[in-house]
Symmetry: C2
Subunit: 243 residues, 2 copies
């Protein structure tokens, strides 16, 4: 039996997945479709989310929602904002949709984002018809979910500059150029390869492995890994005022 739900509080999850082959930062959304008397009433996408259970923390709700959607656990997650405007679920389509759901029209949602790799999710046999879209080319989205995604993306852009979270989006073993491509995708900028290389390789917590890429046509690149252990050991808060 399902635990008791809090009907007016939900968690919504912005699942960011990086596709290393297409160099695309994507968001995982699910299909929302409803028809009646042969007419399509609702046909768009939404974020995955769910009510908070009476006996769980918000973090637990987020973890549960991600697992239900993707089967994954232990991924990087961050609570970034609560959305609670009175009109956030009151577009025409949303109201039609909510009629079919056990949903309070005045629901506040606590939004999280997750960082993972697109390849870790098997969207083909997904019961929610989950689908990846590039964060810069989103489909029509229900509720206020476009806004939620945009704010998650802004938070991610800022956070990736000061914390080593990009490695959550990369495979354990990656090349310098892959890391550069990722930054370029997230930030939408061009980075000088020589400067970026030097910067990364000089970090003691970026470890060159005794391994190179295999199975690539052309010159295989040196593989590196990120050591969270070393990062935390040498981490020193710097109070650089930069206003």
């Amino acid at each position: 039996m399902e635990p008791e739900k809090i009907l007016n509080i939900s968690v919504d999850c912005v699942v960011f997945g990086y596709d290393i082959t297409t160099k695309s930062l994507n968001v995982l959304v699910i299909k929302r479709f409803l028809e009646a008397e042969g007419k399509v009433l609702v046909d768009d996408y939404v974020l995955t989310g769910y009510h908070v259970y009476k006996q769980e923390t918000l973090d637990q709700t987020a973890t549960r929602v991600l697992k239900e959607l993707t089967g994954l656990t232990g991924q990087y997650k961050k609570q970034f904002k609560a959305f609670g405007n009175p009109d956030r679920l009151t577009n025409e389509k949303d109201i039609i949709w909510i009629k079919n759901e056990e949903f309070n029209l005045r629901t506040i949602t606590i939004a999280y984002y997750f960082l993972l790799k697109t390849e870790d999710v098997d969207v083909n046999k997904n019961k929610y018809q989950a689908k990846w879209f590039p964060v810069n080319n989103l489909p029509e989205l229900g509720f206020d979910h476009k806004k939620i995604i945009e704010e998650a993306y802004e938070d991610l852009k800022i956070k990736c500059l000061s914390e080593p979270i990009i490695f959550k989006l990369l495979p354990d073993k990656f090349t310098i150029n892959e890391a550069q491509d990722l930054y370029q995708s997230i930030l939408g900028i061009e980075i000088d390869n020589r400067n970026f290389r030097r910067k990364l390789i000089n970090k003691k917590y970026i470890i060159a492995l005794d391994e190179k890429q295999v199975g690539v046509s052309k010159k295989p690149a040196q593989l590196y890994m990120f050591s969270l252990d070393l990062y935390e050991k040498m981490f020193k808060k710097n109070y650089l005022i930069n206003i």
Copy 2:
């Protein structure tokens, strides 16, 4: 008549006030006191907060709570986190207290912080018995409010390094040394006066006024102001990766 409340969703406000004379970053809290049969049951402090009304945004709730407490409007505010652990209101004292209030035991709170000057609040004739405490020397606090304050403070520490929010804590006209003292209070560090001075004075949006301090014994210092207008005009996002 009071608007309809959402009984399980509240907003709590961490009001930071800087006291320029004592160089202390303070938090405004209100008294919580209850006795029965001559015995003191509850005697501590809490943040100000209130239920969200059915027809208002979360930001509006926060603004309303601050106005109710201080009479002030238009102060800098930031929503920084939602707190929703199932056990966050279940300490012994909290349960006693909640019996007297129209409060759901499973309430989720959206926490905001405000930045202002202690002198802008008249605590003496405050009906909530509001009181300032240094953020590093807080009294006993009810609910999970100690944790909320600590997380607000952490957010403020990070944010003041990259955004010109300290000027919300200073008078319109301030001296360089006052700004330095403020940074030192917030961050708990010592800053070299010559380096700090040069840094600030070189900013085009820090404007030297044709005015000096008056009424001070000893040498009166040059007054400056912060121009938000100029700041925004010259603001250029820099994508410095610093991991």
